[in-house]
């Protein structure tokens, strides 16, 4: 008696592993030289020329903020900062697909996405310095920014996003919660719990896992034996896709379609973006050459998402060096202005900390408030 073909397949564990590659092809619209590899996909984005230029500006803004932040951190004028170079398409193009009513749940590297949503740069600077005034999530003209502060515990924002997503579904809102984490974050229990909960409730969530190659020094391959982080979404029963994370158009398309799917009440989606962190984990002393080679980093610089987008827009005739130079000057003037504004914010007081800890402070806290206030602290 011979084993049936089906049973043979089930018991062929090598096949089980190999099948994942077929299940998770990489979505791509632009080639590395900026040429379009999938015209229909480009058309499906619905992006106008003006929007394409706007997206390019967001990406450039992110790069300039990254360059300035790194310099300022070295001068001791910033606090904590996690560099973003290389991830502009993964971050800004995905965030570009969401709108004001959607709720953003960022990790600590996702500062540019919150700024895109209306969080002023001076508040981002205060956040980096540990000033809670930075976490007051309003625009300069007083509008609520539907975002959480950047999360340090890199799975926590996922379970919270699942809660918002459920709330949005219950309130029958045409909106979603979208949450970011990295490849390291996908190892956290909260990552699985969030996807499982959101799927069980068919809640309005879009989960974005930015596979940037390293969790500080731990390479992606050592982070998990899963061939694709997206496969983790399948375990929760949700559509899960892999996208070229340095291709802004592909990332936008995936995020836009995921948003539409989730906002329509179909449940969550997981997007894995394949990208690279070109710089250190943070400005607090990390040296990537301790755990990766210069050749590897140089190779990824050749795949810089800005290069690809610049080629694409230039070939389309809607972008040029002059526009770029002018915009970069504009961004830097804005950052200069925002640094001054952050520098001018009053120092924090311990008495305010105590007042903000509970709505009604306890007797002991009131005593502590009185002591600190008498000392002017």
């Amino acid at each position: 008696m011979t084993i049936t073909e089906t049973n043979k397949k089930i018991l062929d564990f090598n096949y089980q592993l190999a099948a994942q590659d077929e299940a998770f092809p990489t979505l791509q619209v632009l080639a590395n030289d900026g040429s379009v590899v999938d015209e229909a996909a480009l058309e499906r984005t619905g992006l106008t020329d003006d929007q394409l230029v706007e997206l390019m500006k967001h990406m450039l803004f992110s790069r300039e903020l990254d360059i300035r932040s790194t310099k300022l951190a070295k001068q001791g004028r910033f606090g904590f900062f996690a560099p973003t170079a290389g991830q502009e398409a993964s971050q800004m193009a995905s965030a570009f697909a969401f709108n004001d009513e959607d709720w953003l749940f960022p990790g600590y590297r996702d500062i540019p996405e919150i700024i895109m949503k209306g969080w002023p740069v001076w508040k981002a600077i205060l956040w980096s310095r540990g000033h809670v005034q930075g976490n007051v999530m309003t625009t300069d003209d007083g509008k609520d920014v539907h975002s959480w502060f950047p999360q340090i515990i890199i799975g926590a924002q996922y379970v919270e996003a699942a809660g918002v997503a459920l709330g949005l579904k219950k309130r029958q809102k045409d909106a979603v919660a979208y949450a970011y984490t990295g490849d390291g974050g996908t190892s956290q229990g909260d990552f699985y719990e969030a996807m499982n909960f959101a799927a069980a409730y068919q809640a309005n969530a879009v989960f974005i896992a930015q596979n940037n190659g390293f969790a500080i020094s731990t390479p992606r391959d050592f982070q998990t034996a899963a061939k694709h982080l997206a496969a983790k979404g399948w375990a929760a029963g949700i559509p899960s896709v892999v996208v070229d994370g340095n291709d802004a158009i592909a990332v936008y398309l995936a995020a836009k379609e995921a948003r539409q799917w989730a906002a329509s009440g179909n449940g969550p989606v997981l997007i894995e973006t394949l990208t690279d962190r070109l710089e250190p984990h943070s400005t607090a002393g990390d040296d990537p050459l301790r755990y990766r080679t210069k050749d590897d980093i140089d190779a990824w610089w050749q795949k810089d998402p800005l290069l690809r987008m610049r080629h694409f827009l230039t070939q389309r005739g809607i972008w040029n060096e002059e526009l770029e130079t002018a915009y970069i000057a504009e961004v830097n003037a804005h950052i200069d202005d925002q640094i001054k504004r952050a520098d001018g914010v009053e120092k924090q007081k311990i008495s305010d900390f105590l007042k903000n800890t509970l709505e009604v402070p306890s007797q002991v806290m009131q005593e502590q408030i009185a002591i600190f206030e008498s000392e002017g602290k």
């Binding site: 309130r171 719990e193 909960f197």
Partner: protein, 326 residues
């Protein structure tokens, strides 16, 4: 007034909260059709529907995250952690997130969350179910820890906790759920948070306790009364923050104190109460402060539980020692 069990009072409060405010949601493991493993939510899903009272998949951290996220849509989540021994699984949501968020957002966003959980022991649950971890939670800034000791307080304090815009860890004594009955006022009422209560008047010594320690203290006080020692029993009700004013008033009245807790002796609520008394009211004391607590071991389950847990006799012995001190 109606006589109710402690758990019936909890259920009454949940029913009234769901009736009063459509934004109140109850969720956790098995709280729906099953009515919770202790039946605290029995019948609530049938009455209020699956949108308001619903089961969650089995993952405590996500239950906490869900609660935090739901507040953005103006919901008032009442989440259940099935046993307090499962607290560690949800510790980041409680200690790392919900308790800090008012501070982190500079006081501009609120976290009106109630974390309900049965705690304590004496009901022969399996290992890792029963636990007295209130001291651990009480050390977290930005959160209240409320531990009612009788049915009337369980109802009034739970309604206050649900009304609070700050997160409250609301701990229900697993042993008292069905062993204790008491008169409970009808209808909606609240009992103020952060306020202790004198549950027995006395002049000779103050026994300070909370939650499941209170009935033990009262039993001891009744016995001591027969021996001409008139003990006052102070029920803290909210163990974080502490009602220092009420503690001080009673200490100044009796000059002698015994602190009684079900939890292990190391650190915890009793230690904080003793420290506050020592710092503020030491000149009113006529004797050292006594303490009755469980041994500093892992919480045992099964056979050893009864030997391990504090008893009225322990309290009586300690009170006599303090009263006899010259």
């Amino acid at each position: 007034m109606t006589e109710k069990t402690y758990i019936a009072a909890v259920q009454d409060a949940l029913d009234l909260a769901l009736t009063k405010d459509d934004n109140t949601l109850i969720f956790g493991e098995d709280v729906g059709k099953n009515g919770g493993v202790f039946r605290a939510t029995d019948g609530l899903q049938a009455k209020f529907g699956e949108e308001r009272v619903f089961n969650t998949p089995l993952a405590e951290s996500a239950i906490g995250g869900l609660a935090i996220g739901l507040t953005t849509q103006n919901y008032r989540p009442v989440m259940e952690i099935q046993f307090f021994g499962f607290l560690f699984e949800v510790m980041d949501s409680i200690a790392g997130q919900m308790s800090r968020n008012r501070f982190r957002f500079g006081g501009t966003r609120q976290m009106p969350i109630v974390v309900r959980s049965p705690y304590g022991g004496g009901t022969k649950t399996p290992e890792m179910h029963a636990d007295n971890l209130e001291g651990m939670v009480a050390q977290i800034p930005g959160i209240r820890v409320v531990m009612p000791a009788n049915p009337a307080d369980a109802k009034g304090l739970l309604l206050s906790a649900i009304e609070s815009n700050d997160p409250v860890v609301f701990l229900e004594n697993i042993h008292l759920y069905r062993s204790m009955k008491g008169e409970v006022p009808e209808g909606y009422y609240t009992t103020p948070l952060d306020k202790a209560a004198i549950v027995r008047e006395g002049q000779d010594v103050t026994i300070i306790s909370y939650g499941g320690g209170v009935p033990v203290a009262l039993k001891a006080a009744d016995e001591l009364g027969k021996q001409d020692i008139n003990a006052e029993v102070l029920d803290l009700r909210t163990v974080s923050p502490l009602d220092i004013e009420s503690i001080g008033a009673s200490v100044e009245k009796t000059g002698r104190v015994v602190v009684v807790q079900e939890a292990q002796r190391m650190a915890g609520i009793g230690a904080t109460v003793m420290a506050e008394i020592s710092e503020r009211f030491i000149l009113s004391l006529k004797a050292p402060i006594g303490r009755v607590a469980a041994p500093d071991t892992v919480y045992p389950f099964g056979q050893a539980e009864n030997d391990w847990m504090i008893k009225a006799d322990d309290v009586i012995a300690k009170v006599k020692e303090i009263v006899d001190y010259d």
